[in-house]
C-alpha cells in the first residue's frame, strides 16, 4: 500500500478490523461516493471499515452553520493531527449533490483551508446520500429526520473497530468535541486507564486543596 493512500485513507487498508457486532454494509451502505479529488470510494469498505470517523453534513453554498462547523473541525483536526489519516478520519458529506461536484467541494475545502489529508469532502447519488444520512443520523423522529438542516449542527462520531457511536453538537466547545471523539477511541488497557486515573486524581487533589472544592478537573 502506498503511503499516500494511507494518509488520505482512500482505498487504504483499515487500521483495525471491524468490531464483531459492526452492522457493516447493512447499516452504512456501500454506496459509491466521490471525493473532492474526484476519486471513487465505497462508503463502508473504503471509508468506515475499521476506522474511527467523524461525519458531518454540509453543502458548499451554505452560509449558516456549515462554515462554523468546518472551522470547528479544523481546530479539532489540529488537535488530532498525529492520528488524522491513520486511524481517525473526517468526512464532510454534501446534502446537495446536484450542485456540489467534486470540483465545487475541492474549492470549498481549499478556500477554508480544510483540504487536509484524512479529511474527505464527499458527493454522490442523492438517493445514496439521503440513505446514509438516515442511517447515520436518523433519530426515528420525523421532526428531525425529514429536515436535512436539523442534522447540520451535529457531528456523528463512529468507531467501526469498537462499534462505538456517539454524537456531539458542532457548536459545543472544542474541549467537549474532542472529549466526545475520544469516547470512541479503541479500548484502553486497565493499566492505561489506571495511569490516567492517577493523573486526574492529582489534579483533583490540587484543586480541592486550593479552592475547597473540585472545580475543573
Amino acid at each position: 500500500m502506498k503511503r499516500r493512500e494511507l494518509l488520505t485513507g482512500v482505498k487504504g487498508k483499515a487500521t483495525f478490523e471491524p468490531h464483531i457486532a459492526s452492522p457493516g454494509v447493512a447499516r452504512f451502505t456501500n454506496a459509491l461516493l466521490r471525493t473532492q479529488e474526484n476519486q471513487e470510494v465505497r462508503f463502508y469498505d473504503d471509508l468506515i471499515r475499521g476506522k474511527q470517523v467523524v461525519v458531518n453534513f454540509m453543502y458548499a453554498e451554505c452560509h449558516g452553520a456549515c462554515p462554523m462547523v468546518t472551522s470547528t473541525l479544523i481546530k479539532a483536526y489540529q488537535a488530532l493531527k498525529p492520528r488524522m489519516g491513520r486511524d481517525v478520519f473526517f468526512y464532510s458529506i454534501t446534502v446537495k449533490p446536484e450542485t456540489d461536484t467534486p470540483e465545487a467541494l475541492k474549492h470549498y475545502a481549499k478556500t477554508r483551508r480544510a483540504d487536509l489529508p484524512g479529511w474527505l469532502f464527499l458527493t454522490g447519488d442523492a438517493y445514496d446520500i439521503e440513505t446514509i444520512r438516515f442511517r447515520l443520523f436518523g433519530m426515528y423522529h420525523p421532526g428531525f429526520d425529514l429536515d436535512s438542516a436539523m442534522h447540520a449542527g451535529t457531528l456523528r462520531i463512529i468507531n467501526d473497530a469498537t462499534n462505538c457511536w456517539t454524537t456531539v453538537e458542532a457548536f459545543a466547545s472544542l474541549k467537549t468535541i474532542l472529549k466526545h471523539i475520544s469516547w470512541a477511541d479503541p479500548p484502553k488497557s486497565y493499566a492505561e486507564r489506571w495511569a490516567e486515573s492517577i493523573a486526574r486524581q492529582e489534579l483533583i487533589n490540587k484543586e480541592v486543596k486550593r479552592y475547597g472544592y473540585r472545580r475543573f478537573a
Partner: protein, 656 residues
C-alpha cells in the same frame, strides 16, 4: 474474620488480572473475529475466557421488530425487588480515594468525620440475564448484582451509608450500552463526589464509594440530623454516564432506594411520630418501577431487548412493571402503598385505577418525588377529578401523569372491593399484547391498556391488619428564607436563527468542565424554568440535583396559572410541557461542588439538555467562578465571530 477478608482479596485480585487486556489483545480478538464472521455467535461465547460468569453477548435483531413477541396477560406474579444486603466492605471505605484498592478518582468525601459510615453495601454493575415474561426466554441485561430491577436499598435516617458501586461490565459489548458508569442517587442530599456527576464516570475494573449521609437537609442550621421537615423517603439510583444515560438505563442500571424515619418507619406499629401508612416493604408497600421496552423475536434461547448501536433508546411496545410484563398481584382487603417510579427512558404514563365495574377508582397521593404532601390528595374521575395532573392532551379523566424520574406514593384501599374481585391499573397508551385476556375485563377496558392486575382476597389472620385512616395532615413544610438571587433556565430544542441546535439549556450544551451558574453555599434562589420558545412541542421533565424545590408560580405561554394540586408539594422533577414555565424556590445547604440541572427524558439528556451548576464556599469563589464562566463564553463567542468574519471575507472574494 481474617479468613473471609483474605478470600475476598483473592477474588478481587483475580478479577483485576482477568480484566487487564492490552490493546494488542483487543487487536488479536478483533482479527480472529473478522476471520470467522460466520461463526460469530460462538466467538461471542468465547469472551467468557476473560470474564467468567458473564452471559454471552446478545445477537440483536438488525432492525426494530414491528412488535415484541406476544405475551399472555397476568401470567407472572408482581414482586418487589429483593432488598440489598448490608455487608462489611473490604477494603474498608476511606475518606480519601483508595488508590491502591482500585477505587476510581474522586475528591475526598465531604463531612466524612461528621458522618462516619454505619452501613455498607456493594452493588456490582455487570452483564446478566433477566426474564421479563414467562412466555419469553431470558434477555441480556446490565444490572446491579446482575438483577433487574436492582436490589432495593432499605436505609434509615441518621445512619450514614456507603454504597460501593463496582463496575464489572464487559469490556466489549454488542449492545448500545457504554461500560462506564457514574451512579446518581435521585435526589440525595450529599457531597458532589457521591452525586454521580455525569462527567465522573469510571470504567470496567474500577469501583467507587458513594457516601450517603442520610441526614435531612439543613444540617448546618439544625445539627445533628438536620431539619426533619426536609424528610424524603422514596429515592432511586441510576446510571448518569454523559451521553449514554438512556442506553445504560434501558439495559437495566437502575433501582429503588428507600430511607425510613420515625414518620415512615418501615413498619405499621403505633410508634411515636409514625403516620402509620402501609409500610411493610414487599408486603403492603411496593415500589412500582415502570419502563417500556421492545423485544426481538426469541432465538437461540434468548428474547433480546432491541437496541441499535448509535441509536437513542427505542420507544417500547411493552410496559414493564418491576421487571415483568402485565403481572398480577394478590392483595388483601386493606390499604396498600405503591411507590410509583417512571425510569423512562422517555415515556410518560397516565395511570388510572379501574374498578371491577369499569369506573375509575381513587388513588390517594401521599408523596410527590419522595416528599410527603402536607395533606393527602385523592385522585379519581369523580369528586376528585380536579386533582388529576393529566390536564393537557391526552387528557385522562382521573389520571395520574408520571413523567420520567417522577415518583408518586399512592395509597389504594382494596377493602372497598369484595373478595374475589379483580382491579386493574390502566395506562392510557395501549401496549402490544397479542394474546387475548384470560379473564373478562371490566367494561370499556382493553387488555392493551392494562398495566397490571390486582386480585383482591380476604385478609388471612396472619396478614398484617389494615392501617388506620390516612392522616389528614402528613407533615408541615419548612419555611423558605428570603430569596438571595434569581436565575432563569430556558429549555430549547428549536433552531436559533438559521443555526440548528440540539437539545440545550440556555443555548448551552453539557460541558463537564464549566458551570453555567454558581451559588454561595447556604443561599436561597428563585429559578424560572421555561419551555416557552415559540413552536417548541417538546415535553421536558426537568430535574434539579441536590435539594427539593417548591413551586411558587406556574405559567402557560407566559400567563400565570394556578399551581396544580399535585405540584404544591416539594418536588425534584418539574414537568414542563410545550409553552409551560414555573417559578421555583430552593436552598443550597451543607455541601459544596458540582451538581446538575437537566431534562430527565434520558434521550434529551444524552443529546445534552443538561448543564452544570456549582455550590461554592464564599463570595470570592463565586466571583472567580463567574469570571471563569464569562471567560469561557467570551472565548466561544470570539471563535464564532472569527469564523463569521472569515466567511464574509471568502464570500466577498468569490463575488469579486
Amino acid at each position: 474474620m481474617p479468613s473471609k477478608k483474605a478470600k475476598h482479596r483473592k477474588v478481587v485480585g483475580k478479577k483485576k488480572s482477568d480484566r487487564t487486556i492490552s490493546r494488542r489483545d483487543v487487536l488479536k480478538i478483533g482479527a480472529a473475529a473478522g476471520a470467522v464472521t460466520v461463526l460469530a455467535p460462538s466467538m461471542l461465547t468465547s469472551r467468557k475466557a476473560f470474564a467468567s460468569g458473564d452471559p454471552a453477548e446478545p445477537v440483536i435483531c438488525a432492525t426494530a421488530p414491528a412488535n415484541s413477541p406476544p405475551t399472555t396477560p397476568f401470567r407472572d406474579t408482581f414482586t418487589a425487588p429483593f432488598p440489598a444486603i448490608p455487608q462489611d466492605l473490604y477494603p474498608a471505605p476511606t475518606k480519601a480515594r483508595n488508590e491502591s484498592g482500585g477505587e476510581a478518582e474522586r475528591a475526598d468525601h465531604q463531612r466524612w468525620d461528621d458522618f462516619l459510615p454505619d452501613i455498607e453495601y456493594e452493588l456490582e454493575a455487570r452483564a446478566s440475564t433477566h426474564t421479563f415474561h414467562s412466555d419469553y426466554s431470558p434477555s441480556y441485561i446490565w444490572g446491579f448484582n446482575g438483577k433487574y430491577p436492582a436490589p432495593t436499598v432499605l436505609n434509615i435516617y441518621e445512619h450514614p451509608t456507603i454504597v460501593r458501586f463496582r463496575n464489572n461490565l464487559p469490556l466489549t459489548t454488542t449492545t448500545f450500552g457504554r461500560n462506564e458508569i457514574t451512579i446518581h442517587l435521585h435526589n440525595g442530599h450529599h457531597g458532589s463526589e457521591s452525586d454521580g456527576f455525569a462527567g465522573d464516570f469510571f470504567g470496567t475494573g474500577f469501583w467507587k464509594d458513594n457516601h450517603y449521609v442520610n441526614v435531612y437537609a439543613g444540617y448546618d442550621a439544625i445539627p445533628p440530623e438536620g431539619d426533619a421537615k426536609e424528610a424524603m423517603h422514596s429515592f432511586w439510583f441510576h446510571d448518569h454516564r454523559a451521553a449514554f444515560t438512556a442506553n445504560n438505563n434501558y439495559l437495566g442500571l437502575n433501582g429503588m432506594f428507600l430511607v425510613y424515619d420515625s414518620k415512615d418507619p418501615g413498619h405499621e406499629f403505633n410508634t411515636p411520630g409514625s403516620l402509620r401508612l402501609p409500610c411493610y416493604y414487599g408486603i403492603t408497600d411496593f415500589p412500582l418501577i415502570l419502563t417500556d421496552k421492545i423485544f426481538c423475536a426469541t432465538a437461540n434461547g434468548r428474547t433480546e431487548l432491541f437496541n441499535a448501536v448509535g441509536g437513542a433508546a427505542p420507544g417500547g411496545d411493552k410496559w414493564i412493571v418491576n421487571g415483568k410484563i402485565q403481572p398480577k398481584l394478590t392483595v388483601r382487603r386493606r390499604k396498600y402503598r405503591f411507590r410509583i417510579l417512571n425510569t423512562g427512558p422517555a415515556k410518560t404514563y397516565d395511570l388510572t385505577l379501574i374498578k371491577p365495574d369499569g369506573s375509575v377508582g381513587t388513588m390517594t397521593v401521599v408523596a410527590t418525588d419522595a416528599n410527603f404532601l402536607e395533606h393527602p390528595i385523592p385522585v379519581d374521575a369523580g369528586a376528585n377529578a380536579g386533582n388529576s395532573n393529566s390536564t393537557t392532551a391526552p387528557i385522562v379523566a382521573g389520571g395520574l401523569r408520571v413523567s420520567v424520574a417522577e415518583r408518586y406514593d399512592v395509597i389504594i384501599d382494596f377493602a372497598q372491593f369484595p373478595h374475589g374481585s379483580k382491579v386493574y391499573l390502566k395506562e392510557n397508551a395501549p401496549q402490544f399484547v397479542g394474546v387475548a385476556s384470560p379473564v373478562t375485563l371490566p367494561t370499556g377496558l382493553a387488555i392493551e391498556n392494562v398495566l397490571m392486575q390486582f386480585n383482591v382476597v380476604n385478609r388471612e389472620p396472619w396478614f398484617p391488619a389494615d392501617t388506620p385512616a390516612i392522616p389528614s395532615t402528613l407533615c408541615t413544610y419548612p419555611t423558605l428564607p428570603a430569596t438571595d438571587n434569581s436565575f432563569e433556565w430556558q429549555f430549547v430544542r428549536d433552531p436559533v436563527g438559521t443555526v440548528p441546535r440540539l437539545f440545550k439549556i440556555n443555548g448551552l450544551a453539557f460541558d463537564a468542565a464549566v458551570p453555567v451558574h454558581s451559588i454561595v453555599q447556604g443561599q436561597t434562589e428563585e429559578w424560572l424554568l421555561n419551555n416557552n420558545v415559540g413552536g417548541s412541542a417538546w415535553v421536558h421533565p426537568v430535574h434539579i440535583h441536590f435539594e427539593e424545590f417548591r413551586v411558587l408560580k406556574r405559567f402557560v405561554n407566559g400567563v400565570e396559572v394556578p399551581v396544580p394540586p399535585l405540584m404544591t408539594g416539594r418536588k425534584d422533577v418539574m414537568r414542563l410541557e410545550a409553552g409551560q414555565g414555573a417559578l421555583i424556590k430552593m436552598q443550597f445547604r451543607d455541601f459544596l461542588g458540582r451538581y446538575l440541572i437537566h431534562c430527565h427524558n434520558m434521550n434529551h439528556e444524552d443529546a445534552f439538555m443538561m448543564v452544570r451548576w456549582d455550590i461554592v464556599p464564599d463570595a470570592l469563589a463565586l466571583r472567580e467562578s463567574q469570571q471563569l464562566m464569562l471567560a469561557h463564553r467570551r472565548e466561544e463567542e470570539e471563535r464564532l465571530a472569527e469564523v463569521a468574519r472569515e466567511e464574509r471575507r471568502l464570500r466577498k472574494e468569490e463575488v469579486s
